[in-house]
Symmetry: C2
Subunit: 133 residues, 2 copies
């Protein structure tokens, strides 16, 4: 399989696939003409990577997960630990965004949004202390 076909089947851009090879996530063979020659196994790994990335795992997490995937003597606890760590980070991120969202939506609601210069949003940014008026 050439890179174009693998790209179509995995849903990953060719650029990304080459990048994954660069950083050592996959190791496709080469044909005589210098083209990458992907095996079904390579394709499966790319699909795996695509799914893991879609769930927000970092590349380094993906590297770990892929190694575990290929290690028949892995313990599922190792996989679970990685996933739980990532889940905790997602929760932290969500909490942070919710906090921002709350402040921001309050500010947006308090702004008239008309042609006058007075704006509670700017007032808040200029100094949280100046709450009122």
């Amino acid at each position: 399989m050439n890179i174009g076909e693998v790209s179509g089947r995995s849903g990953l851009p060719t650029k990304t696939i080459r990048y994954y090879e660069d950083i050592g996530l996959i190791h496709p063979n080469r044909s005589g003409n210098g083209y990458r020659a992907f095996s079904e196994t390579d394709l499966h790994k790319l699909v795996f990577l695509g799914r893991a990335r879609a769930l927000g795992f970092s590349i380094e997490d993906c590297r770990t997960l892929l190694a575990l995937y290929e290690d028949d003597s892995r313990e599922s606890a190792q996989v679970k630990a990685v996933a739980q760590g990532h889940l905790a980070q997602i929760d932290a991120k969500i909490a942070q965004l919710r906090s921002m969202r709350e402040t921001l939506s309050t500010l947006v609601a308090s702004c008239q949004g008309d042609n006058r210069p007075d704006c509670p949003i700017l007032r808040d940014l200029a100094g949280a202390a100046d709450d009122q008026k």
Copy 2:
């Protein structure tokens, strides 16, 4: 004021302050010795930037907001539009994270996390199709 004092008063690292000057967000004067000489106005701008960044606005949004802040003839509608745009992005991000969180927490819950190799998380990553068994 030297950069150290401004850093302390604004809560921003000196590195960040220099970076903000590099990209043209602030324009502090220079003393005879080559040190940056910050005015109270510079400090206020930095506090403004720190708050805006804390709310997740991009640097480019910050640039826009700062310009509006300094423009006495601004219309609050302009500010509100920027804030609403950002709010929409935050909502999109939260939705994405929640979706990831849901999938991931289901997977984590289904994994025994023991010393055996069998793992539903890896099974899912390897191909969403292989749901059961």
